[in-house]
Symmetry: C2
Subunit: 199 residues, 2 copies
DNA sequence: GTCTATAAATCGATAGAC
DNA sequence: GTCTATCGATTTATAGAC
């Protein structure tokens, strides 16, 4: 055990930096397995001081999940997601999802690991379902418009699409070569196949 | 809280049935958030009786993970996975992965959620890495043999392939229509695209 | 904004009777 | 194979001084 982070901070922390530290701990240990003691140690302050900034462990989780969700939902209002053929809009959103995931990696990672034990977690699951529902509707639209090869089942395709995109959090780490082209690479894999046969 | 299962059993349980109950609880609440008290309540016996069958909470987890891993590794020794073109062997394994996932759903689900807090979890992560490594090697082989369209990066493709397949545990539930064709459906999505353009 | 000290509950695990 | 009872450690959270 004790895979915790160093705890470098010296004095005078704001909510923002504490949230960042907390999300990092939640990810490496899991939300439930992380104690407020773990969090304060990682931040370099006492447990009591941490409670001065956040009312509870759950409030901390809520703040992190809100950040991830706002980034994702903002995608749906972009011009590229609201005009043009359904298939092109879908491709735009998929690229955007990967970009958000890269930019807010820890927050999105936490969101995707939520299971529904507390009220906050159930709220986050609802929000995720709403987002996925928007994607599924767009997939149906593209299938019905004949933009997609016949025989593709919309509900299944939407689920596999979300699964493919979200799986990126399992291995992507910032600052490595190829990060810039990842949104396009993932989109290509989704629409043309991960392993398309030659010829 | 308290999303626990009913707890119907009356008397005389074996390890097998207790393990099944425990895995179910681990999945709905998360391993760390599930107490031995939760487990015994769900099984309809006391905490102390549960310890008569399993030495510790971690031993319970270990037994569950071993079951999932044995099912997956067995795939690599099947005839269809050891002879023929690399791309065909890959497709055979992908179909097999989905089938194992359907047959041992709770155990594989638990395996895919492991994060590395305890020695048992780190062991399971190692095993997963070994399995994924075999898949990645096969992907490289197929790319180098020219069986796959030029420009596909083997390391990325292997990761996306695993991500796509494993994401099935997030939504698949047994006993629903279309379950029989799922292995083929997922393989088609992986090799020909989730949403291939018409024409 | 940080600290020490502690309350109240729950955790994993054990002892020992039946 | 099940039970009651309990140990010692750890949990989230609060009180109150500086």
């Amino acid at each position: 055990m004790s895979t915790g982070t160093a705890g470098r901070r010296v004095r005078g922390q704001g909510r923002e930096s504490l949230l960042e530290v907390a999300v990092g701990e939640f990810i490496t240990r899991g939300y439930d397995a992380t104690s407020m003691e773990d969090l304060s140690r990682a931040a370099g302050i006492t447990k009591s001081s941490f409670y001065h900034h956040f009312a509870s462990k759950e409030a901390l989780l809520r703040a992190a999940l809100e950040r991830a969700l706002s980034g994702l939902f903002a995608l749906l209002d972009e011009p590229g997601a609201t005009a043009g053929p359904a298939l092109a809009r879908l491709r735009h959103i998929v690229r955007g999802q990967v970009a958000v995931l890269q930019g807010d990696l820890p927050y999105v990672t936490l969101l995707l690991r939520v299971r529904g034990n507390t009220a906050t977690e159930r709220w986050a699951l609802e929000q995720r379902r709403a987002f996925d529902g928007q994607i599924a509707a767009l997939v149906r639209e593209a299938v019905e418009a004949g933009e997609i090869r016949a025989g593709v089942e919309p509900a299944l395709a939407a689920r596999l699409l979300s699964g493919l995109v979200n799986s990126v959090v399992e291995w992507y780490r910032p600052g490595r070569p190829g990060a810039g082209s990842l949104p396009d690479d993932v989109a290509r894999a989704a629409f043309e196949g991960i392993l398309p046969a030659a010829g």
